[in-house]
C-alpha cells in the first residue's frame, strides 16, 4: 500500500456507541435502522453485549440478524471479544484457555458474517502491557482464523501510543508468523489532544494516565499503516457547529488518506450517556468526517 494510493473511506458504526441506550430505549432493529440512515455500510458489535444468548445465540436470532442486515444493506465488520485473564480469582488464565475463548468467538463471528475479531487482552502492568499469554493464545487461533476468513486484530487504545513496545511486539508477531489473519486495530482515542470532562468516580491517577489525551502525532500512522486493518473512530463530543471537542479529525484524516487507508471508520461514541444522545452524536460525527473527506478529495482533484 503506497502513500499515493488514495482510497475512499468506508463508514460504519459500532453498537458500542449506543451503550446504555441499547436495551433501555432502543433495540437492535432501531440501532441498525439508525446506522443505515447515516448512509453507512458497516456494522460493528461486541459479542458479549449485543448477541442475545451469547455465546450461543439461537438460530431464530441469527436468522433475524441476517434479515436486518439485508433490509438495511449493512455488512458486519468487527466483532469485539475479550480475553478475560482475570476470570479466575484464584489463578491466572492459561494460554490454552485464552485460545479456547478466542476460538469460540472466531467461530461465532464468522457465523454472523464478520470479517474481523478484536480480542481485548487483559493487562499485567500499570502501563497496560498485555498478558504474555496473548502470543501463544492468538497463534493457536491463526489456522482457524484462516479457515473462517477472519482477521484477528488487537486494539491500539489510549494510553498506548502507536510507537510503543506493545505495538512493536504485535508487528514482530506479524513478521514472524507471516499470517494475513492478524492485523492491528487503531482506536482514534490515541489522537485525543484536549482533556475529557471528569467522569463520576474518576480518580486522579486515572486522569493522569489517559483522560487528558495522549495526543499521538497523526504522522506516526504512516509507518504502521500497512498493518492497520480497521479503525474505530472513537469520539466523545461534537457540538452544534460540528466541532469535535477532543479528536483533531482535520489533522488525522489527511494522514489516513495519504497512507492509502481505505478501510472502515467505525464510530465509537464514548461521551455523555444521556438517553438518546448517542443517536445525534453519531450523526454529527458522520456529517463531520464526510465533510472533511469531501474537502480532501476536492483538494486532490
Amino acid at each position: 500500500m503506497t502513500p499515493s494510493t488514495r482510497k475512499p473511506f468506508r463508514y460504519g458504526v459500532s453498537l458500542y456507541s449506543f451503550t446504555d441506550d441499547l436495551g433501555t430505549v432502543m433495540g437492535l432493529e432501531e440501532a441498525l435502522a439508525a446506522v443505515a440512515d447515516l448512509g453507512a455500510t458497516g456494522i460493528e458489535l461486541l459479542g458479549e453485549a449485543h448477541v442475545p444468548g451469547y455465546p450461543e445465540p439461537d438460530t431464530a436470532w441469527i436468522d433475524h440478524w441476517f434479515r436486518l442486515l439485508e433490509r438495511h444493506r449493512l455488512e458486519p465488520t468487527n466483532f469485539g471479544a475479550w480475553i478475560d485473564t482475570r476470570l479466575h480469582l484464584s489463578r491466572p488464565m492459561t494460554a490454552r484457555e485464552a485460545a479456547a475463548d478466542l476460538s469460540r468467538d472466531i467461530e461465532l463471528a464468522a457465523r454472523l458474517g464478520f470479517a474481523y475479531v478484536r480480542p481485548k487482552i487483559g493487562v499485567v502492568s500499570f502501563d497496560l502491557v498485555p498478558d504474555p499469554i496473548w502470543e501463544e493464545a492468538i497463534e493457536r487461533c491463526l489456522d482457524l482464523a484462516e479457515r473462517r476468513r477472519i482477521v484477528i486484530c488487537p486494539e491500539i487504545h489510549a494510553p498506548t501510543p502507536l510507537r510503543h513496545p506493545v505495538v512493536e511486539a504485535y508487528v514482530r508477531f506479524i513478521e514472524r508468523t507471516g499470517s494475513r489473519h492478524f492485523g492491528l486495530l487503531v482506536d482514534t482515542g490515541i489522537f485525543q489532544d484536549r482533556p475529557l470532562p471528569h467522569w463520576p468516580g474518576e480518580t486522579p491517577e486515572m486522569r493522569r494516565d489517559f483522560l487528558n489525551g495522549i495526543a499521538v502525532d497523526p504522522q506516526d500512522f504512516l509507518a504502521l499503516a500497512p498493518h492497520v486493518v480497521f479503525i474505530q473512530a472513537k469520539f466523545h463530543h461534537i457540538d452544534e457547529r460540528l466541532q469535535d471537542a477532543h479528536i483533531p479529525w482535520e489533522r488525522v484524516l489527511p494522514v489516513l488518506k495519504q497512507a492509502g487507508y481505505g478501510g472502515y471508520l467505525s464510530s465509537e461514541y464514548e461521551g455523555d450517556r444521556a438517553p438518546w444522545r448517542s443517536l445525534e452524536q453519531v450523526r454529527r460525527q458522520h456529517a463531520l468526517l464526510r465533510q472533511i473527506e469531501r474537502r480532501l478529495d476536492a483538494v486532490e482533484g
Partner: protein, 134 residues
C-alpha cells in the same frame, strides 16, 4: 421504539437527487397519548434555523400515502398510529446544508372533547438535528 423527541434523529434528510436537492423531510412522533385519524391533524409547521415552512405548504406521508393539507383534512379514513412516525416533507430548492440544524415543529391537533375555542391545540418542540449528506 421511537425516540422521545417528536422529531426523530433518523430520517432527517435532504430530498431529491444529490447536487440538485428539492427539499428535506423529517420523521415525527405523534405528540398525543392516542393515535389519531389523519383528518384530526391540522398539519405541522416546521422551522429550521429560523426559516419557517408553514403547515399549509408542507406535505404529509402517512402509511405510504402522501397528502397536502387539504387532503389531510379530509383523510378521515387514514390513521396516524402512536407507534408509527409520520414523514413531513418540505419544499426548499437546494435542500439543507449538511450539519446540525435547529428544528422546531408545531403539530396542530383537533381533539373533539376539548372546547372548540382551544382547537387546534398546537404542540411545539425544538431540537438539534443533523443532516448527514448534503
Amino acid at each position: 421504539m421511537l425516540e422521545r423527541f417528536l422529531v426523530q434523529s433518523r430520517g432527517f434528510a435532504n430530498t431529491g437527487p444529490q447536487g440538485a436537492r428539492t427539499g428535506f423531510e423529517l420523521l415525527l412522533r405523534l405528540p398525543s397519548y392516542r393515535g389519531l385519524r389523519a383528518s384530526l391533524v391540522d398539519g405541522v409547521d416546521v422551522t429550521v434555523d429560523g426559516e419557517r415552512f408553514d403547515h399549509t405548504l408542507n406535505h404529509y406521508v402517512l402509511q405510504g400515502r402522501r397528502l397536502d393539507l387539504a387532503a389531510l383534512r379530509e383523510a378521515s379514513d387514514l390513521r396516524w398510529p402512536l407507534d408509527q412516525p409520520a414523514c413531513i416533507q418540505v419544499d426548499r430548492p437546494g435542500g439543507l446544508a449538511a450539519g446540525v440544524h435547529e428544528v422546531t415543529v408545531g403539530v396542530r391537533i383537533r381533539q373533539s372533547y376539548i372546547p372548540i375555542e382551544f382547537q387546534p391545540g398546537v404542540v411545539v418542540e425544538t431540537r438539534w438535528a443533523t443532516i448527514v449528506l448534503p
